[in-house]
């Protein structure tokens, strides 16, 4: 996703002279060289100084720019948290906060490099919208949206590398604020089941489909705030079982949203939440090992659909 981010932003910045990017010592792996070379006056590396990064972007936005701030997710959000709250949210400035390698993606680096609670934190900040693209296609659409945004900050929660597009020609197109159908359960199913989730973790759902040929629908809830309540109501009406899937804490993320809405709209079916536990857990080899310790795996997801 970081390659996509760099490529799309560089392309958009050619036409849109208001686009700036402020990075805090993002490594060469962050792939920002193209932007840096093409737009010397609109690229700033503030070094290892995230509070400065947010403030600088706020100042640029006050004077009409459309800045993106970009580094690894915990450092773009947690380290300069008060700057995000006061400088961006309170002043309602059009700055896009790009958190790269979100959730448990950097599992090998340990808990200091993970953001298992970022969506929860961001959802509670007034004025801040939360976009969590599930694949490179959605990311591209998000960047286009953010680069036209003139009012209010956006938290853009992205993956790292190697993600592939989830959808095909039959999938919905990305629309801001709308749940996107990736694929549809075949018509003649005994039980109507869907997986609803966001972020690169949705690849698990795709793997289940291709490996085990199970019959279910998949939806991407890429816009977490504002949440698409009207389509959620339709999903409640349509399905017997809803499985939520997210690389994020069980507190304050998609699980919380769906469970609250299910109560509000008196959903009579079943809900199963696959979220991270409210615990700091480490496992350093593969992200899938860590997710397993949190109770998220291909096997567990398979069982949940199979035995629905």
């Amino acid at each position: 996703m970081r390659n996509k981010f760099s490529e799309v932003l560089s392309r958009l910045a050619t036409k849109n002279k208001k686009i700036y990017i402020v990075v805090a010592d993002i490594s060469p792996a962050g792939k920002m060289e193209t932007f840096q070379k093409k737009f010397k006056n609109r690229y700033f590396n503030v070094g290892v100084a995230e509070q400065g990064m947010v403030g600088l972007a706020a100042g640029l936005a006050i004077k009409g720019a459309i800045p993106f701030i970009y580094t690894i997710a915990p450092f773009v959000l947690y380290r300069p948290f008060e700057m995000v709250r006061d400088d961006l949210c309170y002043q309602n400035l059009p700055v896009t906060i790009v958190g790269m390698g979100s959730g448990t993606i950097y599992s090998s680096l340990g808990g200091t490099h993970m953001t298992q609670e970022d969506v929860s934190v961001c959802r509670s900040l007034p004025n801040l919208r939360v976009l969590c693209p599930s694949d490179p296609y959605e990311l591209e659409e998000c960047i286009k949206f953010c680069s036209k945004n003139k009012k209010g900050p956006i938290y853009l929660r992205i993956g790292k590398s190697g993600e592939k597009n989830l959808g095909d020609d039959l999938s919905d197109i990305w629309k801001y604020g709308k749940i996107r159908k990736i694929f549809q359960q075949k018509y003649k199913a005994k039980k109507k089941i869907c997986i609803l989730g966001y972020g690169p973790i949705l690849k698990l759902a795709l793997d289940i489909k291709s490996k085990f040929k199970l019959n279910f629908s998949l939806y991407s809830s890429h816009t977490i705030k504002p949440f698409d309540t009207s389509n959620m109501k339709k999903i409640f009406n349509k399905y017997d079982k809803i499985i939520t899937l997210e690389d994020h804490s069980e507190i304050g993320g998609l699980a919380s949203i769906v469970n609250e809405l299910a109560f509000k709209y008196e959903f009579s079916g079943k809900i199963k939440n696959f979220s991270l536990k409210d615990k700091f857990i480490n496992s350093y080899e593969k992200q899938s090992d860590l997710l397993d310790l949190h109770g998220i795996s291909l096997k567990k997801l398979y069982k949940e659909i199979k035995n629905a």
Binding site: F44, V46, G47, A49, Q51, G55, A58, P67, D87
Partner: protein
Amino acid sequence: MNLKRIDYKQLKNFSKHYRTKLLKISQNVPAIHVGGSFSCFDILNIIFNVFYRRNKTNFLLSKGHTAIAQYIVLNHKKIIKDKELDLYCKKSGKLGVHPEITTKGILASTGSLGHGLSIAGGISLRENNKLTFVVMSDGELMEGSVWEAVLMISSLKINNIVVIVDYNGLQSSTFSNDTHKTLYPIDKKFKAFGWDSIECDGHNLKNIFTSIKKKKKNRPLAIIAKTIKGYPVTFMMNKPIWHYRSPNENELKIAVKEINEK
């Protein structure tokens, strides 16, 4: 600006007017910062009455708790209306203790210390044809984010910034020297971080003016303006309690008299 053309006598009267006005406002509001406003009024006086031109300068008050001082000066400059100022900290008013970005003449919502300088960096990058003034407090310099900003501004060669530190030597609770002896000398720290830095008397209007005139094009400038919290009221000066306290009726009379006799 031609030095000979500045009417310092008139400017001095402006300072008296600002301080008197603040004390009058203080009489029927729930919250106001008298001490820190009095220490920076002369600095604001010079910036707004001598240097400030809307298409040539930006101004940001990083020590947001003394926004009332900026409101009073902006009111004098007819940017904030009388009836708006009259409603300071009133139910139907829009002006509170800290500055809000939504207020005319205010660039940023400051209040939490250590935010303003980075924001000013961004403003100065985007408007590099203008000179950006930032007023900070010396207590604010205890915030680590300030030094991120100081380092960032010189490293990115953002040279169109003048910081004026209202060096009154007091934080909210006590003398800054009590908690942070090594904060001083301040000018050497700015210099070590690639800025020009000079000290001046923050209650001497001419001295403030000449210090700002020393700004070179190729470097950001930090002026460490030695001030006195509560100046020039004898019973307020250097007394931590006057950070946030308002005078009673009798104190008001004495204070107004002292301000206008000075």
